[in-house]
Subunit: 163 residues, 2 copies
DNA sequence: AGTGAAAGGGATCTGGG
DNA sequence: CCCAGATCCCTTTCACT
């Protein structure tokens, strides 16, 4: 169905992850293709779901949310955050992952202050046991997705990833 | 120095986080301003560091990295990942945070397969004790930064966040 | 699948209010 | 901050390779 990404696709993805506002004509120059060819490839990357969108990157610290924390949860029966809409209603919760292992979920939260974090943790605590880790600093985050190392077997989502 | 963000700034940020390729003219329509006014505001948001860039969002699962995990590390003395360039050389490591508490850092990693994860964990293990959590599914991730709730005290990065 | 040219449409920027 | 005009560039289409 979706063919594997070739080298040109990856160059396009690399450039668009670096600058999502690149015009087709400039992008065409960067990857040594004509504008229509690039436009066609980008359209396919979007339609196949490889590119899910284009977002302005906002620095949370400069937008009033300088404090980040990870929260692991072991939810009480019937109160799992993933089953309810509780997390959806909490904009401070920026990520929710379901985990294997003894913790059932991992949250990343961003808040304005320690007092806000305390309040948020109290609300989250109603759903089960918690374990929180405050982030002191972030070395990097949101690194671009890169092409597989040469010689590495490529596995797409539709194939599944089991060996 | 940097003035607090007003309601119009937040509407601009909301729209640009939703669609980073919006033109100034369309954006102007969405926030009921003229194009030049919007262009000037966006320029200020970029220069003040609130907007750090524009990125195409790539689905890792459709780009050959369907497996996500969190790795907590308690690094051996002198081998802390944050002090070396070790993590920089590992493209699989997409986030590195320094933590308070008994674990000194939190990594988010994306890999092509369980075998790759095993190899990566072996390399990371040379730097200290590890605790890894495999992600079964992700409810959401990369949620937009939203304006503070009305009445909430706004704290910018330059003020610091201590109450 | 890609190229090249041409047309048509917008978007951005400037200057004035 | 708005408006209007002018310029420039970008996208899209089409015929052809």
């Amino acid at each position: 169905m979706d063919r594997p990404l070739d080298q040109t696709d990856w160059r396009i993805l690399t450039e668009l992850q670096r600058d999502g506002r690149l015009s087709f004509s400039r992008l065409a120059g960067l990857v040594n293709l004509s504008s229509p060819a690039v436009a066609e490839r980008v359209r396919r990357l979007e339609e196949s779901g490889v590119i899910t969108g284009y977002r302005a990157q906002v620095d949370p610290a400069r937008a009033g949310q300088p404090l980040t924390a990870f929260v692991q949860m072991r939810c009480a029966l019937g109160r799992c955050l993933l089953k309810t809409t509780a997390a959806e209603d909490l904009p401070e919760v920026t990520e929710v992952h379901k985990l294997s292992g003894s913790w059932c979920s991992m949250l990343k939260v961003r808040v304005a202050s320690m007092a806000h974090l305390e309040g948020l943790l109290e609300r989250l605590g109603e759903h089960g046991e918690m374990n929180s880790h405050i982030v002191l600093s972030t070395a990097y985050e949101g690194r671009a997705v890169v092409p597989p190392a040469p010689g590495e077997r490529t596995v797409t989502a539709s194939e599944g990833w089991t060996r």
